[in-house]
Symmetry: D2
């Protein structure tokens, strides 16, 4: 089972479209998957009711905390916001059970952005965070730059990007 | 005028205590200051009502957006959460006017943490983000590690830390 | 077989001492190992005779290039120099066969330093480089800070550091 | 006086071509400049004779050490090698007088590469190193990606790149 994190709470995001595509790729290779989409599972009151003294006290979010605790292998699909990952993605991580949610687990990263960087710094920063939490990150991290030109009607129109997602999926299954 | 950002919305935080101390140091050297404390100014509904399609539509937050737009020099006091900066600090940045809030401005960073790193990676990540936004960051970034042992009754009890804050304040005034 | 890189060419370095200790730990757990010590294998004329147009033309270094090409799993023991890894370690990497020396391989990192950081940024930078080269890095990266106080007569005198090396060795064997 | 570092010792490099262009831009705006080109000043025996116990003992290199000690403002032109800066550039830094060569000074960075990243990670890593050495780095860091397509006969053929170098030069003069 590979747990896919769609890493923004923006509605109808390209991030979710890529997550769906990647899920199909994984399932086409026989992997079981589940999606955790921040747009669906991050409560709008997570900041006042799910952090610090209230960590673990948000009833709706607790099911996600358990799911993340039980999952063993993750792929985070991460858009670039302001040169790094979205703040809400780090809020999500900050609201999980600590320590232990990610200890000795494995992660993959797929970055996307409307600019030319393809979230390369966002993925570098997340790799640091995962390492701090004792989770290992697959070295191969597709950078889907200028994504607005390469995604149409929920399909990727760039052959290289499709190839990279297939390669990433193969590597994650074997990681 | 130097604008100090207390970089967490946790109540009664050590981050705010350090921010207060640093403010005194700056003012003792003749600088004008103002504090933007996320614990006071980040609306609890910023996630649903202040991002993406709602950017700029949160009435209460708009005054802070204007203040940040007008400010020219910042010092961010940043605690280490999960190996980087708090998610809420990036949410705050993501909710500001884009582009332009930080363009051609100058920032300083002061890191603190209960562990041994003193938020060194948090400050590296933020420096990347500020650079992406075309803001320059002062190279000298005090790392206040094991802060719970060196802060009591709102006072720093570690002479080296006090010295570093004074040095940082001098450099920021001249930056 | 795990290939250990002693990441500086400084003679009689603490880095080599740690590499030897770590080798004993690995072998005590039944792993086969070999050491590549930059102090022994990096030719003094690698800069003029082993880079760019001369890549692969340095006879003495070519045996190391082959060894690195054939190896599958690495642990780099990395001292902190000027806030990152030693320049000579990157020269070593730049002189290897490209592309492919590290593709789809796995690495571990152990950092040491006389300061308080324990080479945390050095390891972050190397993790970025390894990712660029499509090599995955184990998330758990021991930071052996203030190493001059915790190493005597070729033995580590800090129990936590010894524990971390044992944990790292276990994880590398299973990575 | 702004000191320009051409950050590779590769002969006839694009890095040096960009350095020359940037020098013209700076001088066109009235700035005084000097170039330190690693291809000219890094001794081929710097590794055996200019590091560690031999630091400061390489007669030919000592003039450069003095020049770097005296200089106050730098711009490093940095090619991407293996996902970061060239190893020889860090060897150069490691061979300078320590501590103090960069303390309280200011730097700019210009990155180039044949790939799509334009040395973004190389510049992030160097910014960390400069910060460790207490040197501040200008936030705006031009990324000259796919440089082989945009440089011909020593001239930049991409108008955006030319604009960025002019903007960078203006900002450096005022930094």
């Amino acid at each position: 089972m590979i747990t896919l994190i769609s890493g923004t709470n923006r509605q109808n995001s390209r991030t979710r479209a890529i997550t769906n595509i990647y899920q199909s790729v994984l399932e086409g290779k026989g992997a079981e998957t589940q999606i955790v989409d921040l747009a669906e599972i991050l409560p709008s009151d997570i900041i006042p009711n799910g952090l610090y003294a209230n960590s673990g006290k948000h009833e709706d979010f607790n099911a996600v905390r358990e799911l993340m605790w039980d999952a063993q292998k993750f792929v985070f699909v991460v858009p670039e916001y302001n040169g790094s990952f979205p703040g809400v993605l780090k809020v999500f991580i900050d609201a999980l059970k600590f320590p232990g949610t990610f200890t000795d687990k494995k992660a993959g990263l797929i970055g996307l952005g409307s600019g030319v960087q393809g979230a390369v710094l966002a993925m570098s920063h997340l790799t640091d965070i995962f390492a701090y939490l004792n989770m290992s990150t697959l070295g191969f991290k597709p950078k889907l730059a200028a994504i607005d030109k390469h995604l149409a009607n929920g399909e990727i129109t760039n052959e290289l990007y499709t190839t990279m997602l297939h390669q990433h999926a193969e590597k994650m299954i074997n990681y």
